[in-house]
Subunit: 357 residues, 2 copies
């Protein structure tokens, strides 16, 4: 465990092998912003710069660095903790977290790069999703890498943001791979500012539209359907985009789309932070935020596929999985916001997802 | 929704039909302590006083009242809220809760009395548990009633207690019933006081021993095995007793055992409240308590069978199910208590359940 910029595993830019720099401009492998040494050695990533595993790992590791560096500018007094971990079996991850910051009450941006043998349960789940080319009765090697993040700001007028982009490969027969991308970005406000929500959705839509005009509409709907707290009959937040099993029209173009999504995170969210982070609030707004964070915990522990999969995986990095939970959450029996209040306005939108654009 | 003693549905003792009183002493139907009107009409309970459904409903409704009345004595300034609800389809429940009390930060004692048709998933789960006399392919009428409770005290030196006793009937063929009892009582301290834990276990053991000397040992072990936060590899607390599918040696004796368990709740727990509720504590102890309450939330939302079953049941009383959650919970990345500290002492016991007696 180490703090941002002081991790002894990291190669500071001036100590990086020179060839790395010479390659940055001519390849889509960019590592300038990485916070620590990459999980796969940097020279291997460079050598295999046409291999999707390496391209995606490089992209998410660098994206993690870019996002953390931006978020860090709002926290002059507290550094993000950078926790790089390796698995005995190969692979590892970089957990990057702040707790009790001035602007971010709890926030983490993590990457992980993992390979191993798919558990039978995961195979069954994939086949049920329609991936029938994955044989049911074999131990299958897989590779997965992804970036995932939840940022819970302190000020109740700044929404919580979540995003996650991942690449998955399964070796269904010797040297024959099934691959796909998945991911999404979504927003969970405590108070509804329609202008903010529109900005958020418009930024995601712009990222989608460059690739296919149908993407935003499809993935916005998917998001609304996924982030539902079923037992409450309400959405977790005001949505965004969500997709899985994405492999169209080809690997290169699918990757370009995922990069656009990842690159949309900061421009979709940072203006909301800057606009609202210094707004005044009191006990009532804080209490409401904590109750809503209780709902966030309910969704993540009861429904979120990634969290559930993680918790049930022996040897998983539990602390890295559960960084999605807020620092503090509350529950109150039958709390109902007063009709017509700002809290009620939000509740209504969560019960009836709408089109923002 | 109403407050203790002012519920307009309740019959105050002087308004109860006279015959009820004349029966109290000669039957095991006692309703003197009930907080509101019973769910099944009182005269029906009296008429069917040899029917187990009615005997159990009367027992749990009266037990709820006895426990609430005792807990209320520690809260002179705040009344427990009594929320009696009925289902259109028949049955209902009484949710009884305090929030932000002086001694109890959040605590609830609920009863429910429900009948309906068993969902297919529940049948499959029961058959998997060994109840192979329950046919897999039919819509089966069932009846269930139970009392369940979690009390989260404010002072970190007072443990959280949980108990739950229930009776289940399935009509496997016309007028042919499978029936069983289930339940348990367990303790979740924030600081380990071995004397307190011994008192708690000894009281439960005394209740068990009256019926069968083997019960405490078997049900203590079952409790240790059930209340495990698997992804943390630690127990939720220091255990107690837990059992399910209990139908031995006959219905009457099984019920007498369950009554002993229910009647052990107050004597096992109240001395711990009285001993510790005024102890001084500071920020450090409160923070530790809140982190442990985060673990409580993890167990209840991820593993607890009753909670999961409830959340997945359409039309369930979500707020009554989730009263088990604390008022406030916290999460902190890789929090580890200092070796040798009181917090560490507790952690060690949670990782290695021990025999207390």
């Amino acid at each position: 465990m180490a703090f941002y910029n002081v991790n002894k595993d990291s190669l500071s830019p001036d100590k990086r092998p020179h060839y790395a720099f010479s390659l940055f401009s001519s390849s889509d492998i960019e590592l300038n912003d990485c916070l620590t040494q990459t999980i796969t050695p940097e020279d291997e990533l460079m050598e295999k710069k046409d291999v999707m595993r390496c391209r995606m790992e490089a992209f998410i590791t660098n994206l993690q660095g870019r996002i953390i560096k931006k978020l860090q500018t709002y926290e002059p007094e507290q550094k993000f903790l950078v926790d790089r971990w390796l698995r005995k079996e190969g692979g590892g991850g970089i957990t990057c977290i702040i707790q009790d910051g001035q602007v971010f009450e709890r926030g983490a941006v993590n990457i992980s790069v993992v390979n191993g043998t798919l558990p039978k349960g995961a195979v069954a789940e994939m086949r049920a999703r329609g991936k029938t080319t994955i044989p049911a009765d074999k131990d299958l090697p897989f590779f997965a890498c992804g970036i995932s993040s939840v940022i819970h700001p302190r000020n109740p007028y700044v929404p919580t943001v979540h995003f996650n982009y991942r690449y998955f490969e399964v070796e269904v027969a010797p040297n024959k791979y099934e691959w796909w991308f998945g991911g999404g970005t979504d927003l969970t406000p405590y108070y509804l500012d329609e202008q903010d929500v529109k900005h958020f959705h418009q930024t995601l839509k712009n990222g989608c539209d460059k690739h296919d005009k149908s993407f935003y509409g499809r993935f916005k709907k998917w998001c609304d359907e996924y982030f539902v707290i079923k037992h409450r009959n309400e959405c977790r937040g005001v949505g965004g985009i969500f997709f899985d099993d994405f492999d169209q029209p080809n690997q290169n173009k699918a990757f370009e789309f995922v990069k656009s999504c990842g690159n949309s995170v900061l421009p979709s969210f940072i203006p909301l932070v800057e606009k609202n982070m210094t707004k005044g609030y009191g006990y009532k707004e804080r209490e409401w935020q904590l109750l809503r964070r209780g709902r966030y915990v309910e969704f993540n522990l009861v429904y979120d596929r990634g969290t559930k999969f993680g918790l049930l995986t022996p040897g998983a990095k539990i602390e890295s999985i559960l960084v999605s939970l807020p620092l503090t959450a509350k529950w109150s029996y039958k709390h109902e916001p007063e009709i017509g209040s700002e809290e009620h306005k939000l509740s209504q939108v969560l019960k009836n997802p709408k089109d923002w654009l």
